[in-house]
């Protein structure tokens, strides 16, 4: 295997815990048809460490895909604008801000340091080239390998994702593969250059359930064997529980809660997270009707103040008005703040005077051995 020879980094466990990816206070807006810009995400902060799977959860339209696409600046340039914030990638020793990179540097980052796989394996491969062509193209773009070496490496990558008879299947075209196989090909292509970060945008949504399980198992195995950081975008809480180390819950373009997966599942702080968790039907329970997220967030009693009694904080919710005595401080920072309400627990609250600067820390959960 050539993979060991060209692995650029020592195993992540021996290094001090420098995060691979830090998103700080990111805001992105989209161009409206009638002119002007519409904010898509704002105040998004999160941290991804090596050897860690960070799940970003939320309903469709919550901004989780926009966040992931921003990491590689893949949003269509003519229709989007990065308003503020920074996206710091630290693949080696030198941190670099993706939002300020030039085109060439950006092209070096994409696929080399951070790779991405997408929801639709049926359409994410170019139909007119064989998969070998496409993997080799990605490899030769980022390494100095010649064509024959790149082809060997492509075959290795295919073998690694569990495609049998890889060397001959390199010459097959995408339409000759099934959906699950195509997602494997996408993963092989993404990982062919040994990126430290993998952005997986709902990688299993379009697949049937049995194939989903295989792909997730493959991702977990690859993440562990390579010590990668995986940003897993999903709306399936079951996948999160099984796969993730840390969770970032998003709603309406903001991070509403961030924390380690076990803590967050056992003790959700934000009513929206609670609603998400309670809306999962349980096999032992008998209910007249299922609880929906709406039932929870529409209930004002759920939004009780949290935090210390002298400086109470109320969870932020866009559909509500801030409760009496919790009027947000006007200012450029907006009406919400992601505060560290408990050790390693971050919660989105109304930005009142009770929000102390020391609470405004960068949300990050250090990697733990599961």
């Amino acid at each position: 295997m050539t993979t060991a020879a060209t692995a650029p980094e020592p195993p992540a466990t021996t290094r001090p815990a420098a995060p691979l990816l830090e998103i700080r206070d990111l805001a992105v807006s989209f161009r409206r048809e009638q002119g002007g810009f519409e904010p898509a995400v704002s105040h998004v902060s999160l941290t991804l460490h090596a050897n860690q799977t960070l799940a970003v959860v939320g309903e469709s339209g919550s901004g989780k895909s926009v966040t992931a696409l921003s990491v590689l600046r893949l949003l269509p340039e003519s229709h989007s604008r990065y308003d503020k914030g920074s996206i710091i990638l630290t693949p080696g020793d030198a941190p670099q801000d993706v939002l300020t990179l030039g085109r060439r540097a950006l092209a070096r980052v994409r696929g080399r340091h951070a790779a991405m796989i997408f929801q639709e394996p049926m359409t994410s491969l170019n139909p007119v080239y064989s998969i070998g062509d496409q993997i080799i193209e990605a490899i030769t773009l980022h390494t100095d390998l010649d064509h024959a070496q790149a082809r060997r490496r492509a075959a290795d990558a295919l073998t690694e994702v569990g495609i049998r008879d890889a060397a001959s299947r390199l010459d097959d075209y995408p339409h000759q593969f099934s959906g699950g196989m195509r997602q494997r090909v996408m993963i092989a292509m993404a990982l062919a250059c040994q990126p430290r970060i993998l952005l997986a945008d709902e990688p299993t949504t379009a697949l049937d359930v049995t194939v989903q399980a295989q792909i997730l198992a493959l991702l977990r195995q690859l993440q562990r064997s390579r010590g990668m950081g995986v940003l897993l975008i999903t709306h399936a809480l079951g996948v999160v529980a099984e796969q993730a180390d840390a969770v970032c819950v998003m709603y309406a373009g903001r991070v509403v809660e961030f924390g380690p997966v076990r803590d967050l599942f056992e003790n959700p702080l934000h009513p929206y997270t609670r609603g998400l968790l309670r809306s999962i039907p349980r096999i032992r329970e008998r209910r007249e009707r299922l609880v929906t997220v709406r039932d929870v967030v529409d209930d004002p009693s759920q939004f009780a103040p949290v935090g210390p009694a002298d400086a109470p904080l109320v969870p932020w919710w866009p559909a509500h008005r801030p409760p009496a005595g919790h009027t947000p401080v006007p200012g450029p920072a907006g009406d919400s703040a992601l505060v560290e309400i408990a050790p390693r627990r971050w919660l989105c609250v109304w930005r009142t005077t009770s929000v102390r600067p020391r609470m405004l820390t960068q949300p990050a959960v250090p990697p733990t051995q599961r």
Partner: protein, 441 residues
């Protein structure tokens, strides 16, 4: 593109060709030239001739004439085989005697009604010639043995029966032959060589036009797709303008402005090449007197600038619009985003991941554009006096030359079929999905 698929496509083309020939034959049948006395019909100098454009079969019913034409066209023939004359060419029925305007309407001309009659006439001529030869033999001029033996050889040749045309399957009942497109009464020659030379001129002009249109249209379409906003809007406006530009107008304007004395005569006004071009070398050089000359290739290119420019304008617009649409579709496609996520950017992304997949739908355009271009070249060839299918067609229409007309239409229809086959082949080259399933749905 399996052989079976190819065969199926060719078989499907047969009814189309039959339909085309039937429509044209019926139109010729409807021709009122024999009865119409409109002033316009009388204005045409050859109006009276047109009544008997087909002097061989003057009073046959339509169905009979159509079936006979089909029989001649078909490679598989029933009946007596045609005979070949001494030079190896088929014994054709004699061309119609041109007769003056105002000839009696029932004048049928010399009407041997079959090839057998023509062959008999030919044989009579040979007999007369042989008799003359024999008389010559007796003359005292032929003294040497060589002279005598040559005469004897000639006589032997003359007395042999005329060779038969084609390949007999059942002798004189069923035989194979090359399709016979008939005889042009207008030019007094067989139709097939006329069509061949005209087709080559037309194909030259149209293929060049299509090539240039693609060369210019694909980049502009791509540019419009990747530069939304003012560039796209401007290109779109210009292209709608080009698309709406009638070929008649652009041809006439270009010719009057750039090829005639009244304007700036940069280019030749007519023809496919200079009159002395056949004597030139291929490349620029000097003629035997040392005068520099452009050479055949440059000369033809110089003559073709204006016609090809006119023809390619509209095609350019169509190609560019389709390229833009296809490229926009590809730009929005998941696989382009995936390629960008792998670090591809710039020209490599555009050519390999946007343009290349967009080529498959563009290939289908060839099937649509080529017949349209051939239609447009009817006008162009008449403005610029190029000896192609369009000019041949117009001459044949004015002279009501039935065989030549049918030949023109069949050739053009065949060209359309060929263009659609070519489009399928190109689509198969561009898209592996078509290549592997063997059909394009």
């Amino acid at each position: 593109m399996t052989p079976g698929f190819l065969l199926r496509r060719l078989l499907l083309a047969i009814p189309a060709l039959l339909g085309a020939s039937l429509i044209v034959s019926a139109l010729l049948e409807l021709s009122p030239a024999a009865t119409s006395l409109t002033p316009q019909a009388l204005d045409a100098p050859d109006a009276a001739m047109t009544a008997h454009a087909d002097p061989l079969e003057p009073h046959q019913p339509f169905a009979t004439r159509y079936l006979r034409w089909m029989h001649r066209l078909s490679p598989l023939r029933a009946g007596t085989q045609d005979r070949l004359d001494d030079r190896g060419s088929r014994i054709q029925p004699p061309p119609p005697v041109p007769h003056a305007r105002g000839a009696p309407a029932d004048y049928a001309g010399p009407a041997p009604d079959s090839y057998a009659d023509a062959a008999l006439a030919h044989a009579r001529d040979r007999a007369r010639y042989a008799a003359a030869l024999a008389a010559d033999d007796e003359s005292p001029d032929l003294r040497t043995q060589a002279d005598r033996s040559r005469r004897a050889a000639h006589r032997a040749l003359l007395s042999a029966p005329l060779p038969r045309a084609g390949l007999a399957i059942i002798p004189d009942s069923l035989w194979l032959d090359v399709p016979d497109l008939g005889w042009s009464s207008l030019r007094g020659r067989p139709v097939a060589p006329l069509l061949a030379s005209a087709l080559s001129a037309t194909l030259l002009v149209n293929c060049l036009a299509l090539f240039i249109a693609a060369l210019a249209g694909i980049p502009t379409g791509l540019l419009a797709a990747v530069r939304p906003g003012p560039v796209d809007a401007l290109l779109r406006a210009v292209l709608v303008g080009l698309w709406s530009m009638p070929v008649v107008w652009s041809a006439v304007m270009l010719q009057t402005l750039l090829a005639r004395q009244a304007g700036v005569p940069l280019f030749p006004a007519s023809g496919l090449m200079s009159p002395d071009a056949p004597d030139m070398g291929l490349l620029p050089g000097r003629d035997p007197r040392g005068v520099p000359e452009p050479g055949l290739i440059l000369d033809i290119a110089w003559h073709l600038v204006l016609p090809v420019a006119c023809l390619s304008l509209a095609a350019l617009a169509v190609i560019s619009r389709h390229t833009r649409a296809a490229a926009l579709e590809q730009l929005a496609a998941d696989h382009v985003r995936a390629a960008r996520a792998r670090g591809l950017a710039g020209p490599a992304l555009l050519t390999r991941h946007v343009l290349r997949p967009a080529l498959a739908p563009l290939a289908g355009l060839v099937a649509v554009l080529f017949p349209a271009l051939v239609s447009g070249s009817v006008i162009i060839e008449n403005v610029f006096n190029i000896p192609g299918m369009g000019r041949l067609l117009l001459d044949a229409v004015i002279a009501r030359d039935r065989d030549l007309l049918l030949g023109c239409v069949m050739t053009a229809a065949l060209a359309a079929v060929a263009a659609s086959l070519l489009a399928d082949a190109l689509a198969a080259c561009a898209d592996p999905r078509v290549r592997f399933t063997g059909s394009n749905g």
